[in-house]
């Protein structure tokens, strides 16, 4: 709530400008600033927060322009009534596009940028060649403009101001919300976000819809502001490029960045539009852009934020892995019977390699199952299939008596299963605290943001990272990152925890601390599947051992019994020479 009041106050103060008696020039200039603030900030909701750089913002802006132009000129719909329609048309268009594009995993990064650019040109061609425009453009000078201020220019200014205040407030609300955290996680590592319970597809679609609706609104207002719209001008490469520049200049990871960038670039270009200096001004804009990107790659706001965060780091004391804080209370276990996780006939192949070849495993409530096997035996694939990262080719997975949703990782997380990654995959641009709060919001616990952060602090204390809550993961060493992985998995309050080689690469002292930690996790009633190569850890912790080899279960039972079986020794060390002949 902290910034809503200043945003609204600033908006209210700016709303008095038309009555100051300034020349109309200022209102038109300020209109342009606000217009670009709406476009850049709306672009940032999907592209900045979630990292899906769109070069198609011109298409949604254009959809709004032509929605208003068509309704107002052909159907005599009053101007103000066309604006919601403009937003709606753009949003529907965005949702239809997103519903297709966001299902294709490959279309991320540059490919998404290119695809959205191509969509812009397709839409432009259709508009140009159909009665929507038809070629000569649409004149809107006959459409009456409602009188909101003392003059026509001030009416547009006030409309743009309302749109800008609304857009910035929405961007701020998302920035502070659970939804926003989900978007930032998608930006850093979409697959992990999904496994932590973020419904990535729906998040992206919602962000895209909002982003497009606001761009459509800006387009609707702008159609009447320019009063003559052409397809060439509306869908030119200028709109997408300019909003990208403004947002990157200001900083894409902050709600205020795009607005700042929009104001700066609009002012800059306006200062140089007059006659002789126009060319020099253009070159100067280019130079400013290059210098800012080279020296402040995070944008102006990002740069300032980073400068502010640094001094705090120095004061943080080194974390101790042997912290003995009490863990938050975990939910009481259900009391139904039968195994908690029941895996039957699970098969998974990767282009010819049969990674899982009919695996049957039961995991009972409250136990620690050690999952062993030589490299390439299918342990990690099994974890990946259970957590929903891969779709199995055949077989069934039952968790607490219900079938697990296939390939819907976020619903598996909600159901109460969490995992760690062998090589830690923290969200690089979220602080350690935010990294842990995310699964608390989106996992089985499903807390709100405030509760999640409170919980996250406890988990950080539990795993000995309390002193590091405000640093970024890049400042942690390997052992701390492994513990961050654990803290993240625990924060979702899972009933089943899949640990994929959490101890590899740690020193003996760090391993002892981790063994102690895993023991304490089990004491809270969490069931654990432990993939591990460090034998003394498995022997110390596991109640039962399952050995995989070449995608099949070759042995299971009590640790001491299993490890002496001939098939297990053979799988690890090969057949004795005399047995082979």
């Amino acid at each position: 709530m902290r910034a809503f009041a200043p945003i609204l106050l600033a908006g209210g103060a700016l709303a008095t400008i038309p009555w100051w008696g300034l020349p109309a020039f200022y209102e038109s200039f300020l209109y342009l600033v606000l217009h670009w603030i709406v476009l850049a900030t709306s672009w940032n909701i999907l592209s900045g927060y979630a990292g899906y750089f769109s070069f198609g913002h011109g298409a949604f802006f254009g959809a709004g322009v032509y929605a208003t132009a068509t309704l107002a000129s052909r159907y005599d719909v009053p101007f103000l009534w066309t604006l919601p329609a403009a937003a709606l048309v753009a949003a529907v268009f965005g949702v239809l596009l997103g519903a297709v594009v966001f299902r294709v995993k490959r279309v991320r990064g540059e490919l998404f940028a290119l695809l959205t650019l191509a969509v812009t040109f397709v839409l432009a061609t259709i508009v140009l060649n159909t009665p929507l425009d038809g070629g000569p453009g649409i004149y809107l000078s006959a459409v009456p403009i409602p009188k909101l201020g003392p003059s026509v220019a001030s009416s547009f200014y006030l409309l743009a101001l309302a749109a800008a205040v609304g857009t910035v407030a929405i961007a701020y609300a998302i920035y502070r919300s659970k939804f926003g955290t989900g978007l930032f996680a998608i930006h850093d590592d979409e697959d992990v976000a999904e496994v932590m319970g973020v419904p990535t597809y729906r998040c992206k679609l919602a962000a895209f819809a909002l982003s497009c609706a606001l761009a459509g609104l800006a387009g609707g207002i702008h159609a009447l502001f320019v009063s003559y719209v052409t397809a060439g001008e509306t869908f030119s490469i200028t709109v997408p490029l300019t909003v990208v520049l403004m947002s990157v200049l200001g900083g894409t990871r902050h709600w205020a960045g795009p607005a700042l960038g929009a104001a700066a670039i609009t002012a800059l270009t306006y200062a140089f539009t007059a006659g002789d200096v126009a060319i020099a001004g253009k070159a100067f804009t280019g130079v400013v852009l290059i210098i800012v990107i080279l020296f402040m790659p995070q944008g102006i706001v990002g740069y300032v934020m980073a400068r502010r965060r640094r001094p705090a780091d120095a004061a943080v004391p080194a974390a101790r892995a042997t912290a003995t804080a009490q863990a938050p209370v975990s939910p009481p276990p259900d009391t139904d019977h039968g195994p908690m996780l029941e895996v039957r006939g699970l098969r998974k192949a990767f282009s010819g390699v049969q990674a899982l070849d009919g695996v049957d495993i039961d995991v009972r409530r409250g136990e620690i199952v050690g999952l062993l096997g030589p490299n390439g035996s299918g342990k990690s694939t099994l974890i990946n299939v259970i957590s929903g990262h891969y779709r199995p080719d055949a077989g069934t997975l039952q968790f607490e008596g219900r079938a697990l949703p296939v390939r819907k990782a976020h619903r598996i997380a909600r159901a109460g299963i969490a995992r760690t990654y062998q090589i830690p995959r923290p969200f690089a641009h979220l602080t350690v605290l935010e990294n842990v709060a995310l699964p608390a919001m989106f996992g089985a616990a499903a807390l709100n943001r405030v509760a999640a952060e409170r919980d996250a602090r406890q988990w950080l204390e539990f795993s000995g990272l309390a002193g590091k809550s405000n640093v970024l993961p890049e400042d942690l060493n390997l052992h701390q990152r492994k513990f961050l992985e654990l803290a993240r998995a625990l924060a979702s309050r899972p009933r089943l925890l899949l640990l994929d080689e959490v101890l590899s690469g740690l020193t003996p002292g760090e391993i002892d601390a981790a063994v102690d930690l895993i023991g304490r996790i089990r004491e809270q009633g969490t069931t654990i599947v432990l993939v591990e190569h460090v034998m003394r850890v498995v022997m110390a912790l596991a109640d039962r051992i399952v050995v995989l080899n070449q995608g099949r279960v070759i042995a299971e039972g009590l640790p001491a019994d299993v490890m002496t079986q001939a098939v297990v020794v053979e799988a690890y060390l090969g057949k004795p020479r005399d047995a082979r002949s």
């Binding site: 279309v107 040109f121 490469i237 280019g286 790659p297």
Partner: protein, 285 residues
């Protein structure tokens, strides 16, 4: 919609091939720097136009043969490209930021061109200018034929270099896994300088071809971006013949669309094709 005669259709296909050759030539350097250096170089278009204007100046004022201007342009542009790469390496520019930095460069080059040559249209009048010959029922314009020949020759040269020379093998290794390539003695920084220089020289070559067959204006830098990127993506990044083949597919489909309907429908085909490729292409690019 009236169906055009087969002669007209054949002429459209031919002109589509020629336009496609220029798409491919413009896309070649772009594809190499994107695929092998991970840079999205918008300034490639600005460099091509700068090359076109220099060629125009040397040929129409200096009296040089337009093709001979390439001997001047290619080495100069190689130096410019290598210099820019040094800057990119110095500041560790990410792929996305490379897009923005090169956009800044494009704006600067556009301003420079506008300052030196004004915003008016310029047309290179040369011995090749309107030369054309008949092949059966088809007219073959000489400048476009030169463009096609240059596009094929340069694509083949790039293909052979990447495939058969140590330089090409090191480049592909460094693009695949830079740290491992470095461990095997590949000097990635030096390679990147050479490659960026070569890409800029390719932009210069495309510029000479632009000057041969098109009217020049500073603002036209931006009109080529969309369709050339489509050719680059469809052709596959870092593949020598990819942009040319994809460029010709796009060029021909555009030309046939123009002949069958109206010229203004042409972009629909190429960009729908690109969207389909992006969404349906099975393997990774």
């Amino acid at each position: 919609m009236t169906f055009p005669s087969s002669a007209l259709l054949a002429q459209s296909v031919l002109s589509g091939v020629f336009v496609g050759a220029l798409y491919g030539l413009l896309g070649l350097g772009l594809s190499l720097s994107w695929g092998l250096l991970r840079q999205i170089n918008l300034a490639h278009f600005a460099l091509a136009f700068l090359g076109a204007y220099i060629s125009y100046q040397l040929a129409s004022v200096g009296g040089m043969d337009p093709l001979a201007t390439l001997l001047v342009i290619a080495p100069c542009f190689f130096a410019i490209g290598a210099g820019l790469q040094w800057l990119f390496a110095r500041f560790e520019v990410t792929p996305l930021n490379s897009l923005l930095v090169t956009f800044g460069l494009t704006v600067i080059v556009e301003a420079l061109i506008q300052w030196l040559w004004t915003a008016d249209f310029r047309r290179l009048e040369s011995t090749y200018g309107d030369a054309k010959f008949r092949l059966g029922s088809l007219y073959v314009p000489v400048p476009e034929l030169l463009t096609l020949g240059m596009a094929i020759a340069l694509s083949a040269a790039v293909w052979a270099t990447l495939r058969y020379t140590d330089l090409g093998r090191s480049l592909r290794a460094a693009a695949e896994d830079a740290p491992v390539a470095a461990a095997f003695g590949v000097n990635e920084r030096a390679l990147a300088l050479v490659l960026a220089g070569a890409c800029a020289a390719l932009a210069g070559a495309a510029g000479v071809c632009l000057a041969l067959s098109y009217t020049l204006a500073p603002s036209q830098i931006y009109t080529w971006i969309g369709v050339v990127f489509a050719a680059v993506m469809m052709g596959g990044l870092g593949r020598a013949f990819g942009p040319l083949i994809a460029g010709i597919v796009i060029g021909v489909s555009e030309a046939v669309t123009m002949a069958l309907t109206a010229p203004s429908w042409a972009p629909l085909v190429s960009f729908s094709l690109l969207i389909a490729v992006l969404l349906l292409r099975p393997e990774k690019l």
